[in-house]
């Protein structure tokens, strides 16, 4: 990981280094980004440089999302606020988007013509059924049907986009498609059940304390459309928190690419690779930022993919009303759908609705930090930096100036992510490549708001499939490029370990 910042020169150098596709196409954001002046680039480089002073909080550190930050509500609604700097006339769109996000879609045909089109196969009837309180999903309790955790499916082979280098070709399972839908509308069979079981894995810390991790094992039961291919690859995915997505989208691609270090030239054991994916919105390759393996380039791409894959709803970007039904699932493809030529643009989710949900998802606000000045939190912060957790969890970025998105425009933000792919070791590997991401790589998730998980979601489950039940467990699962940092945490004396957790809890 290159951690030295020298403005544009470094950025361009790194772009050349990454060079999976033409650099300029990655910078072609769908957002109306205004160019930065040389002086501005220098100012930004100075302000995002990691601090060396841990005696007190940094200026504006409490505002994780700049002016878009909101007060911490003491309830489960802490992640459900709109950007703190949103003007009145845009709040209507946020609320309309919220209503669509919480809406329950129904099967076709239905008398509520504006709300039908669900499925036929689906994982959820509405966005919020997985994105509970706009926070993280959870693993199923004993006997509970999983909703906010599902399995992605693929088999090796297929074609790669010609214009993206190092693409690891996979294709949907020939019958079951790209993910396992464990629900179906009446008259259709759900594809099957995701089964998860856990085995205890004790980890002994340097001071003798024992932390028991739970190692998951996934399988598919009751496969309703015949056996799956033997070489099917399963990847469990839990719904991530929804806050701050518009700000992550607004970080200039060049700033993120500047941190790419595919061959670990700086020798710190951390590489950092860019996900580059075909964007349905842009109709060309773009830097992947969203999804657990950064498989979506824009908030709109991610939103439309979820409408299609998770709920079986068509949008302008994915116009097939049957969602993830494969060609082999005839009855599913020919079932009645919710698209009528005279309404909703002939789709189930029209352009306006997709725009509104995209706007909502961009503007779910990040709550402010707590206890930034507490000595224990500052000590934890110092450890977070000195153990090189910041090697992937980049503390600060500055968003681009945006002509038409004042909420996200030119903010100093503290998401603690580089949005790049990292090898996280065998323990976390799903062994299912996705685009440029290998079966061992995951995108660095943002850490902002992580300390509010219990308050918002009523649990503290972390990582891509919710296997970690505490932040410490989540750290102990880190391997691969993060192994050195993880080992350093194992070796910490208890007060320092507690301080590190206190820092994370303050985010």
């Amino acid at each position: 990981m290159i951690r030295h910042w020298s403005g544009l020169a470094a950025a361009l150098g790194a772009v050349a280094l990454a060079a999976p596709v033409l650099a300029q196409s990655l910078d072609d954001s769908p957002l109306a980004m205004l160019p930065r002046s040389k002086a501005e680039i220098a100012r930004i480089a100075a302000v995002v440089a990691p601090t060396r002073d841990f005696s007190k909080a940094e200026a504006f550190e409490v505002k994780s999302a700049g002016a878009a930050t909101v007060r911490v509500r003491p309830t489960a609604d802490a992640f459900s606020q709109f950007s703190g700097n949103m003007a009145f006339d845009r709040q209507m769109n946020f609320n309309l988007g919220n209503a669509l996000f919480t809406k329950t879609w129904v099967p076709s045909p239905s008398s509520t013509r504006a709300s039908d089109g669900l499925g036929p196969l689906f994982n959820a009837r509405g966005c919020q059924d997985c994105h509970l309180k706009d926070g993280r999903g959870h693993t199923p309790a004993d006997g509970e049907k999983p909703v906010s955790l599902f399995l992605r499916l693929s088999v090796p082979g297929g074609s790669a986009p010609a214009d993206i280098k190092d693409w690891l070709a996979t294709q949907p399972e020939p019958v079951y498609g790209g993910q396992l839908q464990n629900f179906a509308v009446e008259g259709h069979a759900a594809e099957g059940r995701m089964q998860v079981s856990y085995a205890d894995v004790p980890v002994i810390l340097a001071d003798g304390a024992v932390v028991t991790l739970r190692a998951p094992d996934y399988a598919v039961a009751d496969a309703a459309y015949g056996p799956m291919r033997d070489d099917v690859q399963l990847s469990p995915r839990i719904a991530p928190q929804m806050i701050g997505l518009g700000l992550l989208e607004a970080i200039p691609a060049a700033d993120l690419l500047a941190q790419v270090d595919e061959t670990d030239r700086d020798g710190d054991g951390i590489s950092g690779r860019a996900s580059v994916v075909p964007s349905a919105e842009l109709a060309r390759p773009a830097l992947g930022r969203f999804g657990l393996k950064a498989g979506a380039a824009t908030v709109r791409d991610q939103t439309a993919a979820a409408f299609s894959g998770d709920m079986g709803l068509s949008t302008p970007l994915h116009p097939d009303p049957w969602g993830d039904c494969s060609a082999a699932q005839d009855a599913c493809r020919t079932a009645p759908d919710g698209a009528e030529p005279d309404s909703r643009d002939g789709l189930e989710v029209d352009q306006q609705s997709l725009d509104l949900v995209t706007f909502y998802a961009r503007n779910l606000a990040v709550p402010e930090r707590r206890d930034v000045d507490a000595p224990q939190v500052l000590r934890g912060k110092e450890l977070f930096y000195s153990l090189n957790c910041t090697g992937c969890h980049t503390p600060k970025h500055v968003t681009a100036r945006l002509a038409d998105q004042p909420e996200q425009s030119f903010q100093l933000i503290w998401p603690y992510t580089d949005l790049l792919l990292h090898d996280m070791g065998a323990g976390l590997a799903d062994n299912r490549p996705e685009g440029r991401a290998t079966g061992r790589e995951w995108k660095t998730p943002p850490l902002w708001g992580i300390g509010l998980t219990a308050q918002v979601s009523g649990h503290s489950e972390f990582l891509h499939d919710g296997r970690a039940r505490t932040l410490l467990e989540a750290i102990l699962w880190h391997g691969g490029e993060a192994e050195a940092a993880r080992d350093a945490v194992v070796a910490l004396p208890k007060p320092d370990r507690d301080a590190l957790i206190a820092f994370l809890e303050s985010l």
């Binding site: 302000v47 703190g84 919480t102 059924d129 309790a141």
Partner: protein, 423 residues
Amino acid sequence: MSNRRLALFASTALAAATLSQPATAATPAEVVTTYADIAEAAYGDSLTAAIGLQGAVEALIAAPSEQSLAAARAAWIAARPSYQQTEVYRFGNAIVDDWEGRVNAWPLDEGLIDYVDPAYGQSEENALSALNVIATPHFTLSGAAVDASTITPELIAGTLQEAGGIEANVASGYHAIEFLLWGQDLNGTGPGAGSRPFSDFVQGDGCTGGNCDRRAAYLQAATTLLVADLTEMAGNWAEGGAARAPLEADPAAALAAMLTGMGSLSYGELAGQRMRLGLMLNDPEEEHDCFSDNTHNSQYYDGLGIQNVYLGHYIRADGSTVSGPSLSDLVAQADPAVDTRLKAELDASVAALAALKVAAEAGMAYDQMLAPGNAEGEALIMGGVEALVTQTASIQRAMLVLGLTAASFEGSESLDNPAAVFQ
């Protein structure tokens, strides 16, 4: 920290604006006092009306009949005007924002609470949307066994409300009580509200809908909870109460909160979520008071509440008036044209919402206005939406002339000083 800085800035601006005014000119502190006094009165009226509702509910449970059910419904309708006039205190008063979901959350998956029509889509993922707690004394929630054999306020508030993290699992507040008094409105966009029979509350022989004892217990507990929640909020606004303290400590930030509440309720909440959305979807499920068909009143009194805050004037449920130095006075001191225009626009939105109310009372209920192809209904709703949108622009102008910014109340440094992040 930022609030304090804003306060200095705004106070200076206000002081400058008031220098040339007569000695009787309103001060921010006085305006804030009027605002808090109106809140105290309106939450107090809401509490009084809720206690009246509680009495009517007890009478219904003691002797269920057409008359006692009608009386309980009338008491619920009578409880709405004063409460709706407090909604403008949301969006800026943290103590209200953090509490509001307990009393007025909507829309709800009513199948959580009681029986529903079989055609009502139940959600496999939200198993609780068909739980029917009234018929189910023992169930499992997120893997834990729940003993609901006795329905208490604690069960409703602590376990059922937003169960499983699903916002539509609304178990408490006005709309849960509304559902228990009216039942589902199965008429879609056609005429008619919910028509629960009084026999749903008859104990023993004659009970309809099953579990009449538990239904009565739920209604009683939900009403008790509403009274408790309103008692708490009315107390917060009494002299020395927790809601007044931050306003009195920082009158300039308080002015920003007042105008922010007016603007956010006008545009995003009322014009957007509660009016424009239902029309966009032609969906009566998006109607605010969807069981009772009382939506026209809820919206009218929301609009009136916005005007109350600006004019520093509230007519109590008993007909008496609370009034004092107002935002209007301050804005007029700073820029009379802005004040004149905003007053006219507030009049216009209240009139548009009144037109909607008149039409509803004359027989075209709000859900009928949402019907596809009902041009008259659409025009009535859009009249309200447009008036609310129009006044929001003037609310913003009022903030400008007072030297305030909307988001500044949320404490955003970079609005005080946009370059601050790069000092």
